[in-house]
Every structure is written in C-alpha cells, then in structure tokens.
Symmetry: C2
Subunit: 154 residues, 2 copies
DNA sequence: TAACACCCTGTAGTAACTTCAGGGTCAAGT
DNA sequence: ACTTGACCCTGAAGTTACTACAGGGTGTTA
C-alpha cells in the first residue's frame, strides 16, 4: 500500500489551495477520493499528479473548459493527442490576441496621460476631456460586452 | 425643452447595451432618470455624455471602482484633478504588469507547443508530459489565486 | 479533558455583466 | 376594437474560478 495524503498535504504538495481541491471535485476535474473512517478525503499519488497537471495548465491561464479535453486525452494513453495540439494552438491565439489588445490599450493610456501633467482644475483636465469625446470603436452595439477574464473573451 | 431619449436609443448612441445601462443605475454610476407616464426611463443629453465617458473608460479596461473617482472629479469641475492622474497612473501600471505576464506566458506556451508537432499517442505527447512535471513557480501557496480579470489582479 | 490543528458541508460573496421569465406600453395596421 | 410588433419594465438566476464564512466533527498531544 502506497502513501496517501489528506487534503491539506495534497494542497501543499500540488500548490492548489484546499478549498480549490474540493471545488475541483464538484467540477469533476478530479475523481472523488475514498474517505477515511473519520470521513476525511484520502488521496493517492495519482490524485497529486492530476492536480499538479491542472495547476500547471491554470498557471498558463487555460480555462477549466480548455483543461477538460487535455485531461480526457491524458486519461486514455492510447488515444491520439491531436486535440491537445488544437487546444494549445487556440489558447496561444487567445493569449496573442489579448496581448495585442493590451499593447494598444497601453499606448492609448499613455497618450491620455500626456494630456494632464499638472494638477489642474477638473474642468480643464486634459484627461477628463479626453475621456469624454470620440469613442474609439465606432460601435454598432455592445463592444463593452467583450470582457470575461484574462484571455478568454470573445 | 431639449431632446430626450428612451433607453434603447441611449444604448445605441452610447454603445452601452440596454441591460448594462440599467445595471449601471443600480450601481449608482448614473443617476436615476425621470420616468414617462408609461414608466419608461427618459434620458437627457447629460446622461448620454456620462454614459459615453464610462464606456470610454471601460474600453480602456478600467474597473468600475477606478471609474468612480473619475466621475466624482468630473462632477465637480472646480476640484483639482490630481486623483484622476493617480488613477490613470495606477491603471497604466496594472496594464503594464499584465502585459509582462502575458508575454512570459506566451513564451512558455510556444515552448510547450514545440514538444509535439505530430499527432502521436497521448502517452508519448510531449505537451502532456510537459504539463505534468515541474511547476514553474515554487509555490508556497495559492499562486493560482491571482486571477481576477483582464488587468486587475493582485 | 482541554487545546489545537486539521477536516467536513453548505452557502454566499466576488466582477461585470448577460440571460431569462413573466409581464406592461405604444404606435400602426385591419 | 383588436391585434401585431417593437419597445419597455422588474426581479432573479447564470456566468468564471474561485474565496470566505459559519457551524460543526476528528485526531493528536499535554
């Protein structure tokens, strides 16, 4: 019989907080572990590895829904991994898009900041007047509806 | 008597979706407008300008809580605008940090992607094996706890 | 037997909205 | 008068990926 871990130790070793481990269980990212007689979750090496895998994916800013197919492939070692490549390619594209957006944003913000160097009266502040006029995208509708999280927006 | 708009027209003109306008009212970002006898919200030019201002800020990825102080200064034209400058400076820093993080991320993802060019068996996929090992930050705890939204994380 | 670290469940809160259910209002057409 | 259709209303729940309680059990040590 190999080593088992209770949830706190698993959390330390994987870098995933205890509450998040339980949360991942409800999401079915990790299987329900057996319980001790005191009703404690008892994990094995394989849980630790799965959790580390998930955490690594999350640290790369993948969404849970991107991670799911990766786990599926990981679970069946004889399946081919083209889906893995696809998920990764798409994710890289997300990141690239978000990167470009942020670069554009930063330029705009710096330009705006130029407009008020000194503390002037609000009415004369170049920043406030700059924020009042001319919307950047000539919106048809709801360009403000594009925010979700770090890189997963549409 | 100047022109008034009902909420749909206001939404079209400002680029903020109807539901979001109502939502902003509950957040007290915009004042409650007068109602028509049929209980429709009736907006004036000043509402439109305020909403456009907010939308412009949001398009620059400012959080609602960053926008609030800007609106406060905007409301009292004789107050000095140093707080505006402070908010902007901090926001620019947020964006810069997130930018750096995403660049690091992209490098890591591209390196990972290198590891599996062909569709191989899952067990041999370099990406999956790459995701299994070596956690990037030697986490003390919850480095996964750093995600909030586009640029506002800590 | 008490203190203490650890574990349990279930619920609510976060940000900024979006979506939905179940209804009124109003102008135009028949 | 009636119906269609576009527009508006409220209130509640869903979204993402967690975090933070509240209120309680477990297990080891002093």
């Amino acid at each position: 019989m190999s080593k088992t871990y209770q949830i706190g130790e698993l959390a330390r070793l994987s870098g995933v907080p205890v509450e998040t481990v339980r949360y991942y269980e409800t999401l079915k990212l990790i299987p329900k572990p057996p319980r001790s007689q005191g009703n404690y979750r008892m994990y094995a090496q394989e849980h630790l590895e799965r959790l580390s895998f998930i955490r690594h994916c999350r640290s790369l800013d993948m969404s849970i829904d991107e991670i799911r197919p990766l786990l599926r492939v990981r679970d069946r070692p004889d399946a081919d991994c083209s889906e893995v490549n696809a998920v990764l390619d798409e994710h890289i594209e997300h990141v690239g898009e978000r990167l470009a957006e942020l670069q554009r944003l930063k330029r705009q913000l710096l330009a705006l900041r130029q407009r008020c160097q000194s503390a002037s009266r609000g009415a004369d502040c170049g920043i406030l007047t700059g924020l009042s006029g001319a919307q950047p995208p000539p919106v048809g509708r709801g360009a403000a509806a594009h925010r979700k999280d770090g890189v997963h927006r549409k």
